[in-house]
């Protein structure tokens, strides 16, 4: 058999080295390319929302510059006078919009905190927001869980939908930490 790096023995030693050397693995076995943040199954062109060579996820709608009629843009004169962002003043619909439209951003955390203040709770496994249906006490309640009819926020139909859940308290997210970020809204408290 070929004794140097260009035969099967060389290939075998390459495989064995790759098992320990992360660097070599990147080249020899490569990586799972479906984990690079692209939706390769989509029939849509990816470049239209491509966030660039370093982006782990596609662009969000608000990250893409569309040339809209000037009238749609915030005029310089009014920009300074726009009301400061204050989530406590917004309705649930807008809070959910901010939460789902700002993945990976401080805004998502801030919206989650405000929803928590409004007695919504995030089910970590079901990945859905739920809240008690007013006037409908749980059918069953123990120290570990409760069961009953709750509202959950259905992203597809974008409304609250009543549904029976068994809510295990440990699967509820606690109050989201306030992000360690200097005030991100101009002029906000």
């Amino acid at each position: 058999m070929v004794a140097d790096q260009f035969g099967m023995v060389g290939f075998l030693s390459f495989i064995r080295t790759a098992e320990t050397d992360q660097n070599i693995v990147q080249l020899a076995q490569g990586s799972d390319l479906t984990t690079l943040g692209l939706n390769l199954k989509s029939p849509e062109n990816q470049y239209l929302t491509f966030g660039g060579a370093w982006a782990e996820t596609p662009c969000r709608a608000q990250d893409i510059d569309f040339y809209v009629p000037r009238e749609y843009l915030t005029n310089g004169v009014t920009r300074e006078k726009l009301a400061q962002i204050s989530l406590s003043r917004y309705g649930e619909d807008l809070l959910f919009h901010i939460f789902y439209m700002n993945a990976g951003d401080v805004l998502q955390i801030m919206a989650a905190r405000e929803l928590y203040n409004r007695d919504w709770r995030f089910l970590k496994e079901d990945r859905v927001w739920i809240t008690r249906a007013p006037g409908v006490p749980p059918i069953e309640k123990t120290s570990a869980y409760e069961r009953g009819t709750y509202y959950y926020f259905d992203v597809q139909s974008w409304r609250k939908v009543a549904k029976e859940f068994q809510v295990e308290y440990e699967k509820l997210e606690d109050r989201p930490e306030r992000p360690q970020y200097p005030s991100i809204f101009p002029g906000s408290q």
Partner: protein, 518 residues
Amino acid sequence: FDDPPGLQEKTEFLLREWVQLYHAPSSGRESTKAFSQIVYQMNMQGILKTDDLITRFFRHATQMCVDMCYRTLNDQAAMTPTMVRNKCFRTLDAFVRLIALLVKHSGESPNAVSKINLLNKVLGIVTGVLLQDHEIRKTEFQQLPYHRIFIMLLLELNAPDPVLEAINFQVLTAFCNVLHILRPEKAPAFAYAWLDIVSHRVFIGRMLAVTPQHKGWGPYAQLLIDLFNFLSPFLRNAELAKPITILYRGCLRVLLVLLHDFPEFLCDYHYNFCDVIPPNCIQMRNLVLSAFPRNLPPPDPFAGKLQVDMIPEIRQAPMIQTNYASLIQPPSFKNELDTYLNTRTPVTFVTDLRSTLQASAEPGCRYNIQLMNALVLYVGTEAIAAIQAKGLQPNKQTITHSSHMDIFQSLAVDTDTEGRYLFLNAIANQLRYPNSHTNYFLHLILYLFAEANTPAIQEQITRVLLERLIVNRPHPWGLLITFIELIKNPTFDFWSHEFVHCAPEIEKLFDSVARSCA
């Protein structure tokens, strides 16, 4: 040098004035009102009098913008990255708008020449300032101001505007020239910003989708080759520390977008790319070779009894944008090659091949890989032409007993293990989607396996195929077809070879690949 007295002060005054005007609520639609005012003031200051003065103005203005950024970046007290950027971009974006408006309004539309001349001048100035800064500051160099100027100017000049649309290809060409000058080998501290610009969705869209007749494909391919050339020494030596890995993954991400959205682009330029992608970057090379034209989806390689010769497209030659024949150097060698291909004489041509292909005695780079790749593809395409001239198609009968096969068999038998590995890689790089090259080269590699006079040839053929199969997807169609034929066709008696059972891992690998192929 030789600045007229007071130019620096005038420039600073005009720049400050412009930034105020640009951000003022009264700046008007696309800053047009502000622009009229600043042009009046530039005229008053005599800046617009000559090309030389405009150039000097931009040189100072660029330097001032860059210096302001460095001051802000170095004075990040109590500022978040977002605040630092907002401060820098407030001036940089205004400066870019001024450039864009001067380009758009210079000379009488649709006279593109003066617009493009001014754009090239300004891009050249920013490039010069960057390279000088890169040279002086070295590891203290900051990409931020230059990245912002280039990317925002690219976006400004690609806005849907009739005047800009009329000069769009010249604008894109100007940017490609600048990006090639600033390629990572020349400005490594700008490499991440460089790839951020090259991979920007607007740039990709304009270069590969919007620009008619694929005129943007060549310049864009050149930029990818610039990136591969920079990565190559690090990848070849598996020097994959984090800074390189990030760039490598970024490159994979871009190639994935191209594979998904512009596979024909990868098909056309696969040869150029495989000429510079190091042999050990197997997944990246597979990604390029897996591309197929969207109107020619290959048949399922695992569908039993697939008759490759019966696929209509198997007769069609693929588009290859490279003049690979011209890469066969020196011209005297090319003449001898053509003589041999046509007359099968002199015999010494074949016996001298190995020495012609050897570049140095240094292990690991003994062979001229580019010459090997060009020779293999050229001889293969000449063989296909000769076979089709007789009204035949390449198959295990028609490819034998020819001057072309003499050369391939000589390369298989006479080279050492390194040369043979590179030779077999050059063949495997042609195993792609159904076309006449894939067809010829899959018959060639199987013929070399069947006719091998030593097991070493069979072992190395197996190695070259296997290392391309065990990497994560994607895998080129031609590669899968070839390996399935090798392990299934009893003619090759594949499973009896010693190297198939040389170690448990290898045996397991073959089993798993065979199972997935079966």
